[in-house]
């Protein structure tokens, strides 16, 4: 394959992958929803969970996006410095989104700011979003794909605390979001928390936290403890499915962290909804691929 053919191939793969993740949830999310459905015992929770289950089954059978809000596409790429298509990647991801939009079909969710018109293609200035990490001494490429829906994007919040506020302040910051906007973001939620120096470093971490597999823990012991405490604490609020009340509120809480300036604690929270449409695909330099989030998919 020459380079042009390779780029076309990768575009096709990514369009098909985006199309797929809008219709079928990742394996870990399906398992978690099943588990929570089992554990809830009120008739209201049970009816909601069984509706979700029926919806996912119908979406697959009828080959339709499972939620009408197919979001704005976001990609987090961990690209090897010598991946052959590194220069083409950003452009071809945009093309893949346009392709998927007509093929799936996806909703047109890209409105140019200030000029305020819908592009009608689901892409625009800076959308889809591509977050870059360059991996030295590698010729492969890992891509996380995420559909950021409106309802679950709305609770997103970041701020810089004074160190005096401590991790107690971080706790309150996260918990307050749960009962204000979190409630309407289609629980059970996946909660991503970033702890760093400033708003943008914390915010990016809080989004990356949503890409981690469910049930994984931060490797720092205290951060892992915080994940567990927040998870139990938010569950104790009892938002239940759709925020209508129940025994649980979240599918998980993931904390990502970096070092910070001694005078600040940057903190951010991002939430994923029950319809957490994320995908993870790994390519080698010849575009052989492996999908970690969804079993039994051929692109």
């Amino acid at each position: 394959m020459d380079k042009r053919e390779q780029a076309e191939q990768l575009t096709r793969y990514m369009a098909n992958f985006v199309d797929h993740i809008g219709k079928v949830l990742p394996d870990d999310i399906i398992a978690k929803l099943d588990e929570l459905a089992e554990k809830e015992d009120s008739p209201l929770s049970r009816v909601i969970y069984s509706t979700m289950k029926r919806n996912q089954k119908l979406a697959k059978e009828l080959n339709r996006p499972s939620c009408q809000d197919t979001g704005v596409l976001q990609f987090w790429v961990k690209c090897g410095a010598s991946f052959p298509l590194i220069g083409e990647l950003e452009g071809l991801l945009k093309e893949a989104v346009v392709k998927a939009t007509f093929q799936a079909p996806l909703r047109h969710n890209s409105v140019e700011t200030f000029d305020e018109y819908n592009t009608g293609k689901n892409v625009g200035k800076g959308t889809p979003t591509v977050f870059w990490d360059i991996v030295p001494d590698s010729n492969g490429c890992e891509i996380y794909t995420y559909m950021a829906g409106g309802g679950c994007t709305l609770p997103g919040k970041a701020m810089v605390l004074m160190p005096g506020a401590g991790y107690e302040g971080v706790t309150r910051f996260v918990m307050d979001v749960m009962t204000s906007y979190g409630l309407n973001a289609c629980p059970p939620l996946l909660v991503g928390v970033g702890v760093a120096t400033s708003v943008e470093t914390a915010a990016l971490l809080s989004k990356k936290a949503l890409m981690r597999p469910l049930g994984s823990r931060n490797e720092n012991e205290r951060a892992a403890l915080m994940e567990k405490l927040l998870e139990d604490g938010i569950n104790a609020i009892g938002l239940g499915p759709q925020g209508m009340g129940g025994k649980y509120s979240v599918m998980g809480v993931h904390v990502e962290n970096t070092a910070r300036h001694p005078s600040t604690i940057g903190v951010a929270v991002n939430v994923g909804c029950w319809s957490h449409r994320r995908g993870h695909i790994i390519f080698d330099k010849d575009l052989n691929y492996r999908i970690t989030t969804h079993s039994e998919v051929t692109l």
Binding site: G166, M175, I237, Q242
Partner: protein
């Protein structure tokens, strides 16, 4: 009409005040009959511009939603995907809307406020939530799109007049007594949150 079939509470349009009298917040109901999608601009046209709604929704249902529609032949349409949108955006208009149109069932996402509570109590209507994210279930419960009005508003805002069959589950969030499930839950959630914060804070004094 209200009937109970296999343990399911089913409302069939036309719905009367008596049908709704015993229904309470937290109940689950299903809808048969007439339901029209109706959101921001349609509310604004009726309430602010004083225009008459071109679909009769008296004793029937409206759905705060913007669907994906596939046009068929002979001016017919198919519902591909439909899900509720945030009802709170219509809160500002809902009192006048219910008063003027005589709608009995309002379906959407999330809670609504005092205007809608007033309307539900005084004009005998209910607000229900269709669990969001279940767009394929909702679309397949639409039997037919019988009419499309105000098409100049574009696909999401057009009044899509549908005939639905056991459309739901619909969770009653405001009843005809004006009780509001979301508001009552909020108080409980906030109490529990404060307790949870207190517990967590005992264990996270990492800055010494």
């Amino acid at each position: 009409m209200l009937e109970i079939k296999d343990g399911k509470k089913i409302l069939t349009t036309p719905v009367s005040a008596e049908d709704l009298a015993e229904i309470r917040i937290g109940d689950i109901v299903y809808l048969n009959g007439s339901m029209t999608t109706c959101r921001d601009v349609a509310h604004r046209r009726l309430v602010e511009a004083g225009r008459k709604l071109p679909v009769d929704v008296r004793d029937a249902a409206i759905f705060h939603a913007g669907p994906i529609i596939r046009p068929l032949e002979n001016d017919k349409f198919e519902m591909v995907s439909v899900g509720p949108t945030t009802s709170m955006r219509m809160e500002k208009f809902e009192k006048e809307f219910v008063e003027q149109t005589g709608v009995k069932v309002i379906i959407g996402k999330g809670g609504m406020g005092p205007n809608t509570e007033y309307a539900c109590k005084n004009y005998k209507a209910i607000h229900c939530v269709f669990p969001a994210g279940n767009a394929v279930v909702a679309a397949t419960e639409v039997e037919e799109i019988v009419d499309a009005q105000w098409r100049d508003l574009g696909m999401p805002e057009t009044l899509w007049h549908c005939r639905v069959r056991e459309f739901g589950p619909l969770i009653v969030s405001i009843d005809t007594e004006g009780r509001n499930l979301f508001e009552e839950n909020k108080v409980i959630f906030n109490e529990r949150k404060e307790k949870a914060i207190e517990e967590i804070c005992k264990q996270v004094s990492f800055i010494k």
